[in-house]
Amino acid sequence: MISTAVKKTFRYLSSFALIVSLNFALPRLMPGDPVKNLIGEDVYVSDLVIEELRAELGLNRPLLEQFLAYIQALLRFDLGYSYHLHSPVAEVLQERIGWTLLFVGVSVGLGAGLGVFLGAYAGWKPETKLSRGLSCGFILLSCTPPYFLALLFLGIFAFKLGLFPFKGFYDTLTLGSIASHLFLPVSVLALFSASRNFLILRGSVIQEKEELYALYARAKGLYEREILFRHVVKNASLPIITLLALDFGFLFSGALFIEIVFSLNGMGTLIYDAIIGKDYPVLQGAFLLIALAVLIANILADFLYAVVDPRVRRPA
């Protein structure tokens, strides 16, 4: 047991180290020059000034030197300074990650709950019209591009029915305003993660309900629903744990489109602007944060899996 834990941590550490260096290399591989981006489109600036700016941002040093400086700064938890947002990257990320986690976290929670509940029902009675309808509905959902659904929702609920505001995390910093502002984006992202969970869980319940323990539960006197929720669902939702961890990366990029449509300035738009504007420190910081989040999500999933499924761990 100890050796697998050591091996696993070594594997995670090495991949994380590789990610850190890739985070450094990736932005610099992208075409385009951050200094030119900084100056803006119409302005004429002499080359002297450009060189001065490049020196100021430390981009004139050889790559290796920049890389070492980046690593040293990282060890001091200093993520550097954003070129475009003019403030330390750590602050920018801290402010944005809060809102994005709220928005993505709630959607993932809702999505998982909805997906598991409806998936369990659809798996338990696959022949009924309702579960067939649900299956096709959720397949349709999982195949529509995220921004397509977001725009449709906005068009119908915010524009035609005028039920919800159009943009921003809030108008005034009150709970009511945040809730009404985030209702549509959360429902779109929740439907998305629900559609992925639903499909996986439906298949899983169909297999699990054939198991002998389900029959024995019935022989113990449990009635229909009780068998499903007291016995089958826990077994069937094991793959959901790994799916959520795997999907964590997808949810950040999926949220990007929803953030663009609903004009929420969360992590998605931050990364998109940084890519367009070649804001290296922000890119490095944001990718590091996402890699860390996905890594923690996976470690958490492995741990949670061991807690939920005793077969994986030896007797306490």
Binding site: G32, Y44, V45, L85, S87, V261, F262
Partner: protein, 594 residues
């Protein structure tokens, strides 16, 4: 209602006394003017129900001087004064809490006045630049009454307007103007030229003027000073690193409104009426700029009335969405010919585009009417060979571009480009097929489709290369293309020697700039334009430049489009200028609900 009125009355009296004390404290200038005005007739207390605070306070001032200081003045009778004061108070009361909302896709990304490009533009309302461009493209003073240029364009003197007050009550002094220009010069990379070329600067409180002495002649200073926001010296002196100064709270401004709050999370800027603004009183207490990162969402917000109008820097309201707005019958449209335009740029450093005859023949291959119809849905017109649109100063009428594929083929043949091996593609003089790369960015993908269709019709093989923004800049700078579709912004057209010369002059570099023209005749024309500020000479050189374009076709303007700005019908008083569209002081002071 009664209770509010009483409270406001007391408030206004205190303000006036404060003003009066300030006014008295100020040196003779305002006093003299007041004396001259009062002597013979009652102060100007008439006109529309809006009294500008300036007139009222002068009236009361004169009354106080007559009653308490025994000045030999005929005090204005109480009736007109009290009517004016109560009208003013009623007006204040009525517009309490009224908000003008503007939707814009130019999102502000960080609360740094110096760092964020869009915030710099929107801050014009609270910290207006010294100069501005009027409706027909002429540079006039905004916070400045007039300006003088002397010693062959090295000494510029600007005379500030008198009744300008910062929103914290202090009077605007020429010291602020001098500080602002020097501050920009030192702190922002794009204004570094000021730092290098400014020899000396001085200001005089007496004439309320500021003078700048440069070490070499500059003719475009009036244009440059239309972009630097006037900053209060007593606040910004303390800020060492403006680029890194993040501040979401209120900024002190001297415009009709001051920037109260920047709320990035709610996606809006909030401006509030400047209590010390002495000009005509704006009709709205607040102006809110709402950012929408998606164009369609912004148009939806406009349609169902969440916002009153739409503004995007240097471009029009999306043409396909206009028809939808018209259906709601709630909107009027302000149309002005755009100073910027979409044009087909040529790589003049590489055959066959370096050959003038080839470019001439090519100009006949493009179906301009269809381009206007499809790209601007009718909100545009076929351009002239002179490239410069009529909305620019000293516009010269030149020959219209014509679509005639037969003539295009004929001219190609005459220029020596024929299809000798009958494979449907013309060959160049050395005999190999003409394969041209058309480099385009994502937003002009459709235009590229149309252009390649037209050019293939006359026998040229076009390979369209769709690239993202940065790849376009790098490939353009390395001249790795034959044709490219790109756009010019109003500010870009005015750059360098103006009339679009900034885009072609090979001595310049920059993101949007093609720098393809090395022809000495063109360079000489540019230098002439840069050397003079005299309007007659400017006109002559401008016309020569436009004739040069018509003659040599360094680039073909695809169409001249019109900047369309929709606004809610129950508003009136919008004013637009070519540089910043409706986002200018005149609009915010004049605009009212019907």
């Amino acid at each position: 209602m009664q209770h509010n009125l009483k409270k406001v009355l007391i408030g206004i009296l205190i303000l006036l006394i404060l003003n009066a004390s300030l006014g008295a404290g100020a040196p003779s200038s305002s006093g003299a003017e007041a004396k001259a005005g009062i002597g013979n007739e009652t102060p100007k207390v008439q006109g529309p129900e809006f009294q500008s605070k300036g007139e009222i306070s002068e009236g009361i001032l004169a009354y106080m001087q007559a009653v308490y200081l025994g000045a030999a003045l005929r005090p204005p009778d109480e009736a007109t004064l009290s009517k004016a004061a109560s009208a003013y108070l009623l007006q204040l009361e009525k517009t309490k809490g009224s908000v003008l909302k503007i939707a814009t896709p130019n999102t502000v990304k960080s609360a740094s006045l110096f760092g964020d490009y869009s915030l710099g533009i929107f801050a014009h309302l609270s910290n207006p630049p010294l100069m501005k461009m009027d409706a027909n493209g002429k540079l006039v003073g905004q916070l400045v009454d007039c300006y003088e240029v002397s010693e062959n364009n090295t000494r510029w003197t600007f005379y500030l307007k008198d009744e300008l007050y910062w929103s914290d009550g202090k009077k605007v002094s020429p010291k602020d103007a001098e500080f602002t220009i020097r501050y920009y010069g030192k702190k922002t990379p794009s204004a570094r030229w000021i730092n290098d070329t400014l020899k000396s600067s001085s200001f005089s409180e007496a004439e309320n003027s500021v003078t700048f002495k440069f070490n070499k002649p500059y003719t475009r200073i009036n244009l440059e000073f239309a972009t630097y926001n006037l900053l209060p010296a007593h606040i910004w002196e303390k800020i060492e690193e403006p680029q890194k100064y993040i501040h979401e709270g209120s900024y002190v401004g001297c415009g009709p409104y001051f920037l109260k709050r920047i709320e990035l999370k709610a996606g809006k800027l909030v401006f509030e009426r400047n209590p010390y603004w002495r000009g005509p009183m704006p009709a709205f207490e607040c102006v809110e700029i709402h950012f929408y990162s998606n164009l369609d969402v912004a148009t939806l917000a406009l349609e169902n009335g969440e916002v009153d109008t739409y503004y995007k820097y240097a471009s029009s309201y999306p043409y396909p969405n206009i028809e939808q707005l018209k259906k709601t019958e709630k909107f009027d449209f302000l149309e002005k010919t755009n100073v910027g335009l979409i044009f087909l740029g040529f790589n003049l450093k590489k055959a066959p585009l370096s050959d003038r005859a080839f470019r001439e023949a090519l100009s006949y291959a493009l179906n301009y009417e269809e381009l206007v119809a499809l790209e601007t849905l009718g909100y545009g017109e076929v351009a002239n060979r002179g490239f410069v649109p009529p909305s620019m100063e000293y516009y010269k009428e030149t020959e219209k571009l014509k679509y005639n594929p037969a003539k295009a083929r004929e001219l190609m043949k005459k220029a020596g480009y024929e299809d000798r091996n009958e494979n449907g593609i013309l060959e160049n003089k050395e005999g190999d097929d003409l394969r041209l790369t058309l480099l385009v960015r994502q937003d002009s993908a459709r235009t590229a489709e149309l252009l390649s269709e037209y050019l293939e019709e006359i026998g040229l093989e076009i390979e369209v290369k769709n690239v993202d923004q940065d790849t376009w800049f790098t490939l353009k700078d390395d001249y790795k293309y034959d044709l490219t579709v790109t756009r010019s912004t109003p500010w870009g057209m005015l750059m360098h020697a103006s009339w679009g010369s900034g885009y072609f002059d090979s001595r310049r570099s920059g993101k949007g700039v093609l720098h393809t023209l090395e022809d000495p005749a063109f360079l000489q024309l540019c230098d002439e334009l840069l050397a003079t500020t005299d309007s007659a000479e400017l006109e002559k050189s401008a016309h020569a430049l436009q004739a040069y374009y018509a003659e040599n076709l360094p680039a073909i303007p695809l169409y001249w489009n019109r900047v369309v700005t929709p606004f809610n019908r129950d508003f009136e008083g919008w004013a637009a200028d070519p540089l910043y569209g409706i986002y200018n002081l005149e609009t915010f002071v004049e605009v009212r609900k019907k």
